[in-house]
């Protein structure tokens, strides 16, 4: 059952359940931050509509900077702002930022200890029709290796909004990952955003498997849990929206509840959420694991739902992985 303590959206499995994009949570949060904190500045690289910075632009014109199609310049200008006391948010597609400008981020933001918030949009194969060139599926792998960074992958609109606002309170670089499409609303405005402690969103007695998921894929994991319950298989589903710093102790505790783990992410299975959980468990509690995600390949253009099915990341694939890891 859905964790009753977290004020989750009880209607999330309904046929006409409300959907909203995480990028809209980001955009709405920026407008609030603009009012709350005059040091917040926003930069975009010719993608203000699609990365949802235009709301901030309209209200706070003097603190909004359009850099044109120049992601390296955007990252390093933001570093200059940050070391002068500003809290810059840079915004583009994740393939370009932190993709194309990775070394600029490494030198001028991370190693330079600059308080910059990096918003990577159009993450995952759910980006759909634009094709693999625009579907960031390696962004967690390339940011997770940065010392001192915080990484949030919000599961829905509300969490995206809360994570964005929280990121401004963190002193130091933060990477925020957003998706393009509307995805199910999993939480509510009242759901607490606990950046330090991963929360079990689906609870059951004597679970056989612990599922760790991030982003909108949490919905597919919850859907799988619901179907599995009807089949008599109990699981736990954890929202792991903070990828870094990892709460190792809590991850081990959650894995110990079932002694079997499945990770669920719209990202390459190498270097992402699954790798992170595997690193933690290999060290403290070696556990049989299965990995749902993009299996060392590129995806292609298509309708997001079709892609998620074809690349074996939907609830059917998750159920298969759960059954497989139980049988091991």
């Amino acid at each position: 059952m859905l964790n009753p303590k977290l004020f989750l959206n009880q209607k999330m499995f309904d046929h006409n359940a409300l959907q909203k994009a995480t990028r809209d949570g980001f955009g709405d949060a920026l407008v609030e931050l603009g009012t709350m904190n005059k040091d917040v500045v926003v930069l975009t690289a010719d993608l203000s509509e699609s990365t949802r910075t235009e709301g901030f632009e309209k209200k706070f014109k003097e603190r909004f900077f359009e850099v044109g199609v120049a992601e390296q310049n955007m990252a390093a200008i933001a570093a200059g702002f940050a070391i002068s006391g500003k809290i810059p948010f840079i915004s583009s597609y994740a393939v370009f930022s932190p993709g194309k400008n990775w070394e600029t981020i490494r030198t001028t933001i991370i190693y330079n200890e600059a308080n910059v918030k990096i918003a990577g949009h159009h993450a995952g194969i759910i980006t759909g029709a634009d094709g693999s060139t625009h579907q960031a599926t390696e962004d967690i792998a390339i940011t997770r290796v940065f010392p001192g960074i915080t990484i949030f992958v919000p599961c829905d609109y509300w969490e995206a909004k809360k994570a964005t606002i929280e990121s401004a309170n963190i002193k130091g670089p933060v990477y925020l990952r957003f998706t393009r499409d509307k995805t199910p609303i999993i939480t509510t405005e009242k759901t607490p955003f606990d950046k330090d402690t991963p929360q079990a969103y689906w609870l059951s007695e004597n679970p056989k498997v612990t599922l760790f998921a991030f982003g909108y894929m949490l919905y597919y994991a919850l859907l799988a849990a619901k179907i599995l319950e009807q089949k008599g298989i109990n699981v736990l589903v954890v929202n792991l929206s903070t990828i870094k710093p990892a709460n190792e102790k809590e991850i081990v505790e959650l894995a110990k509840k079932a002694n079997r783990v499945v990770t669920v992410e719209d990202h390459q299975v190498m270097g992402g959420l699954g790798s992170m959980i595997a690193e933690v468990l290999a060290k403290f509690f070696p556990t049989p694991m299965e990995f749902i995600g993009l299996q060392d390949t590129f995806a292609q253009s298509g309708n997001p739902k079709d892609l998620i099915k074809q690349y074996k990341m939907d609830e059917v694939a998750i159920i298969e992985a759960v059954e497989k890891v139980i049988s091991r």
Partner: protein, 288 residues
């Protein structure tokens, strides 16, 4: 803050300091066993003029809110920046001996949070102007009067990021930003015009809506005059193309790209120091 007038006596003092800085660079690089000689020697005059005459700064209070910002984009010539910082009192001159060694504040390429007084982290090329833009825009937002100086190399202009930044600064008419290019014509693989031609550099900047000044970068008076002019240009950012002699002051290093990225051995260092001390004597007598 206005730049003070440069009288004969002060000019001589600065020239002697630049000579002293070159000697320290040779000693420092010999001790370090690796590092970049040519650019460090070539830029000694400009660094001395900045730290001892132009910049509004306080070595005892590196966080001074209204200090002018100096950003070294081509971080590999940090031996000269470290040297002049030490000479102006940011840290003891003796600490130069720790350059590139373990647990030193003087990293092989500048690391902002390792050493108070460094404004940015650099080494990978092409990123300094962009950071300078962020700093200059912050000044504009906060209505601060400090000026932002960025030092960049010529070879660095082969990086795309540089042109992204030049385009941006031109668009925003960043008159509180002054760029100084060390136009010494060399880079690791050879002469810039053979590796990847940059000329006509002046016309490129003009096309990007910058004010352009060209000077002899080893002439302190010309440099101070150019900065004075740059600071009084209100409608656009200014670039000072400073023609310098790489390896300046050491005959066998001058204009030879082989000295871009290596230090002298002890024999070469001795020869270099002999030459620099001779020059020191000449400066002393010239101004008398």
């Amino acid at each position: 803050m206005d730049i003070p007038a440069l009288y004969e006596e002060k000019l001589k003092d600065l020239e002697l300091k630049a000579n002293k800085a070159r000697q320290l660079v040779i000693e420092t690089l010999l001790e370090a066993g690796s590092g970049h000689s040519a650019g460090s020697l070539g830029m000694a005059d400009i660094f001395v003029a900045l730290y001892f005459h132009i910049l509004n700064h306080d070595p005892k209070n590196p966080e001074l809110v209204d200090r002018d910002r100096l950003i070294l984009s081509n971080g590999h010539i940090c031996p000269i920046q470290y040297t002049v910082m030490a000479m102006s009192g940011y840290f003891p001159i003796d600490e130069l001996k720790t350059l590139r060694k373990i647990n030193s504040r003087l990293q092989g390429h500048p690391h902002r949070t390792s050493l108070p007084g460094l404004e940015t982290t650099s080494g990978p090329l092409g990123e300094g102007i962009s950071q300078g833009i962020g700093i200059a825009l912050s000044a504009r937002l906060d209505k601060k009067k400090y000026h932002t100086f960025v030092i960049s190399s010529d070879g660095e202009h082969q990086e795309g990021n540089i042109w992204e930044a030049i385009m941006f600064a031109g668009k925003h008419k960043l008159n509180n930003l002054t760029l100084i290019i060390d136009r010494n014509n060399i880079q690791i693989d050879g002469f810039t015009e053979n590796v990847m031609p940059l000329e006509p550099l002046k016309e490129k900047y003009l096309a990007f809506n910058w004010e352009v000044l060209e000077i002899d970068g080893n002439n302190i008076k010309e440099f101070v005059d150019a900065v004075t002019k740059a600071k009084s240009t209100f409608e656009k950012p200014t670039v000072i193309i400073a023609h310098t002699i790489p390896g300046k002051g050491v005959s066998f290093m001058e204009k030879d790209f082989a000295w871009h990225g290596k230090p002298p051995n002890s024999e070469e260092a001795k020869k270099a120091l002999d030459e620099l001390r001779t020059l020191q004597g000449r400066i002393q007598s010239e101004h008398q």
